[in-house]
Symmetry: C2
Subunit: 329 residues, 2 copies
């Protein structure tokens, strides 16, 4: 059995140096401090690890993919900075968020700067020019889609009820596309042919959906201490997660439905009200449904890797998909 | 004598179609509406015109440079959207700004989306892969510098007094680099050698400084009706423009200095107070000094073009530099 966390930690160590290397200190100081804070703060590093694993799993040289792994991590961090500002979140991984510490304008600019730096790093990839161009195409498309997905999320959080299909499309755009661009980019750098690049891309798209769906589950039934944030915020925001959409369809009792709807979207709902809503969703089978659905996505993701020959990196990619569904944080 | 405005209008017409072409309608609607508003609204289109002129002036095919012209315009517009939000400006070219019309989160995302699309367009440039890579390098570096320059501007507007050299460095980063990336990119697509690319890059860097310096002058002594905004806002923000820095050094009378300082940075200064501050700066020779300095930059910019053979496009580039200094809007 592969120890995903141990491998992620090993990758993190390798990546930390490169993440610093590509963010040299320039002026002005406050922008630079704001720009490096999230990339240096760590996190699971699933996205960059996937870039390296994909390069290796197709038989390529993983070292050549390190700059892309860094770029994908910068892009992920740029979206977190802008997201935290949009959502008004004050803490991330125990740190004060950028807009609180440095002000809104600096949060916008630090995100923009990381975004720009990501593409500077891609421009310098040590690969043939045509490979670099293909990587650039898949990553730029992903960032365009990310913005679309985040806007759909904003619209959704504004209380607009959406169907399950629409919610999954939102997840695909706001989460999966960056996983997928990283994996496909890694495969491209590793020298894979189009068929393999596409399979790896699809694997990561499916994994991204499973990952986000399980994230939603953790955000309701997870351990607030381990998560480092309070649970039930999606309910407070009235967000149409898979669980909420399922519950709205499957709660049979009118009184229960009324009670559920009274908490949904109630931004200042108490811990007690959240626990009641959670119980209602559990009784309606909605949590179980979401876990089942995420498990299906994971299985479909892993099946896409059948095209690859056996290797340590392939095993890690399989384990990573399982990890998306078997984590407590 | 070349009619710069007429040529810019001609280029605009050609560009408008392409600007639309590369922004296809996708979901969600509110993000798309916010994304296309500024690019479609026109403006002087100096930056994209410079891309095309540079491609032509080095003997290349201008049509091949159209996508880059579009990308540079998207980047310019993305920075305007984020800037307007950061500054809290409510109007631009008579339109309601994005954050007022669609909310702050959509303004952030619309900027991000335009930024991403700019690089998607660059990824699809119809040029050899190595040329595309060189264009990408110069443009990504410019966007990184833009963020630095805007942060320096934010710091400056927060009342931090800066030296004239520091202010010019700010202008170089927040204005010149995008002009220069466009011009150098156009020259690269046009097939120019490194020496010519560098000369064109330097031309545009110098022109950018002259352009922004004269913009500051117009912002103080220009016609509010033609400008479409009130004058004196730099004074209200206490911004260290060349004029302000010169005045602070050259006002001899203590009472006058006290009066000047009392208006500088007074965010709610009346029209009357602004006119007094303006008169003080004029009497100290500060406006004249800034115009002289901008003129010098223009001359130095034009001299960089000596390396190019005579052509209509070269003449337009010369006229464009003169226009940066001889406009009322």
């Amino acid at each position: 059995m592969i120890d995903v966390k141990a491998i992620l930690a090993k990758y993190s160590k390798e990546l930390d140096r490169s993440i610093d290397l590509y963010l040299p200190a320039e002026k002005p100081d406050n922008l630079m401090d704001a720009t490096v804070q999230y990339p240096r703060a760590g996190g699971k590093r699933m996205r960059p690890a996937m870039v390296l694993a994909a390069a290796g799993a197709v038989g390529g040289n993983k070292d050549k993919a390190i700059p892309l792994a860094v770029a994908i991590e910068y892009i992920h961090n740029f979206t977190l900075i802008h997201d935290d500002y949009m959502d008004g979140d004050e803490k991330r991984r125990g740190m004060t968020t950028i807009h609180v510490k440095y002000g809104g304008p600096t949060a916008i600019l630090a995100g923009d700067a990381l975004f720009a730096r990501a593409f500077e790093v891609i421009a310098q990839l040590d690969t043939p020019d045509n490979v670099m161009r293909n990587v650039l195409k898949v990553v730029t498309r992903a960032v365009w889609d990310l913005a679309r997905g985040q806007q759909m999320d904003v619209n959704n959080e504004n209380g607009e009820e959406v169907s399950m299909d629409e919610y999954i499309e939102t997840i695909r755009l706001k989460t999966s596309v960056l996983f997928a661009a990283g994996a496909a980019g890694g495969a491209l750098i590793g020298g894979a042919n189009e068929k393999i690049v596409n399979a790896v891309h699809e694997y990561a798209m499916l994994l991204g959906v499973a990952f986000q769906m399980f994230d939603d589950v953790l955000g309701l039934v997870g351990d607030p201490v381990k998560l480092g944030k309070s649970v039930g915020n999606d309910v407070r925001k009235g967000k149409s997660t898979v669980m909420v959409t399922h519950a709205l369809k499957n709660i049979k009792d009118k009184g229960t439905m009324k009670e559920f709807r009274s908490v949904l979207g109630k931004i200042n709902a108490t811990e007690d009200e959240i626990q009641k809503a959670r119980k209602i969703m559990e009784d309606a089978g909605s949590v179980e449904f979401a876990i089942k659905m995420a498990t299906d996505y994971t299985k479909r993701a892993i099946a896409k890797l059948d095209i690859l020959e056996k290797s340590e990196d392939k095993e890690f990619m399989i384990a990573l998909a399982e990890f998306a569904m078997a984590r407590d944080v």
